[in-house]
Structures are given as C-alpha cells and as structure tokens.
Amino acid sequence: MSVLITRPEHDPTTKHLAHWSQAIVDMAVHKGFDVFDLRRASANRTEFIGRMKKLQPRFVILNGHGDEETVAGHDNEPLIEADVNEDLLYNRITYAVSCNSAAELGVHCSEHPCTTFIGYTDKFIFSLTRSTSSRPLQDVRARPFMESSNQVALALLKGHTAAEASQKSKELFQKNYRSLLSSTSNPDALHDAQLLWWDMMHQVCLGYQEATVMAQKV
C-alpha cells in the first residue's frame, strides 16, 4: 500500500503544516507503507498528477491552501480541482489540511463509490508564535492544532476506519480545547481554544466511512 503526501513550503502556514507532517511520514514509513513525499517545489501540479496516475496511492494527504473547489501546492499552484481532475481522488482516502475544500471538492469526490474525503468545510485557522515562526516544531501555540489535525492521518495509518480517524482527531481537538480553557494564566488560551473549537466543528468525514488504508472495499 502506498501513501502520497504533499508538503508545499512557501509561507509560514505551509511551513508549519510541512514540518508537523513529518510525524505522519515517519509513521507511514514505520508501518511499512511506500511513501511518496512531494515536498516544497515538488508539490507542483505536473508532479502530483503524474505520481497519482502512476502510483495509485491508497491514501492521499494534501497540505496546502485551498478553497471550496481547490487544493493547492507549492506557490499556491492548484493541484486538484473539482470537476477538472477530482477523479484522481476516486477510490482513495484523502485527508486535506486545507481551508474550505470539503465544502465542494470533498462533496463531489465522496459521491463516487469507495471514496472518502476528510477535510474542512470552512477556514482551517491556527495560532503561531512570532518568535518561533522559523522553527515550527518548537511553536507551542501551534502544537495543539497540528497534533489534533495529524491524528486523522496517524489513526488511519494505525488501521482505523476513516470515521474512527476523524472521531479520534476530534477527541484530541476536544482534549486540547479543554486544556486551554482550564488555563488561568495564559492570556492567549481562550483565543486558541475558540480556534480549536472552530476547526473541530468544521472537520468532516465524507463518503465511505468504513474505508481503511489497509485494503480496498471488497
């Protein structure tokens, strides 16, 4: 089984997503998956389409900016677009860490049999710390957002179904949310808790709920 991940890295948002996704790459390798990592300039449309057609990955993880119909790669080049090349995601599980893309692209894809799209129906927003913006893994403000989001992919790689993976992610969002709400000394805690709640409320698992990355539907 193979996993394809895109990790554009052209601004602070994509840099954070790319660095925090290393845990997903490491887990996939550890679990014995063939991992195809389109990082930085490799996360371009030509490379993405070519790899998708050639490798037919079971699990696709898209990090990047997006809107209702599109998920983009490096320098915001559109990689996948509703009604244009959405068929590349058919018969697979996709997790798109991208604003809004579950609202239309995800709905379109998930209408196809044996297809699952996990993503966000509105903006995926998170907090960063100015002083650690160049060292994303040391950013304690970003950690609860990144770890909660990562839980989708990590749970899938451990063999959970798509529905379970999304649920586990939401449980981690809730745990981090409650932890922040209970903080009495952190002036940023309430703000970050609200954003965690927002992201959790807009994460959806569309299409085939029982899909796993281990096997195709029989």
């Binding site: 604003c99 907090s127 309430l190």
Partner: protein, 74 residues
Amino acid sequence: MNTQPKPLLADEDIRQLVTARLSVLSPETILSFGSEGNFSRDELLEHVKEGDSIGEKIAQIQLEWLRSLKEGLV
C-alpha cells in the same frame, strides 16, 4: 430587495466585544488565516476596525463559539 445579511461588525456592541478579546492577546500572536495570509494581533484589530472579510470571520468565530456555549454544545 436586499437579501445580504447584515455584517456582524456593523453592530457596535459586537465590534467592541471582538476588539476587547483581541486586545488581550500577546504581541507574539500570529494567526494563520489560510491563503489570506498571517496576521499579527494589531493587524487583526485593524481588520476588525475596517469591518472587512477577515474581521467578519473573526467576529463569526467568536459569536458562534459564544452561542455554542449558551446552547451547551461545548
């Protein structure tokens, strides 16, 4: 007939509430707002003052969270 919903930040009480909440954030705060960019606390306050789409989204998040609290959803 105009069917556009009234902007949240057109309500002065809401604008003051959102501004007050943002004002207490540490100056280290940066908000990743997707493809629209990353914004500091002071830039967020400016967007709320301007009442643009970013300011409206911040207001929407805060108000929906408050509503969910009231309804016992969180």
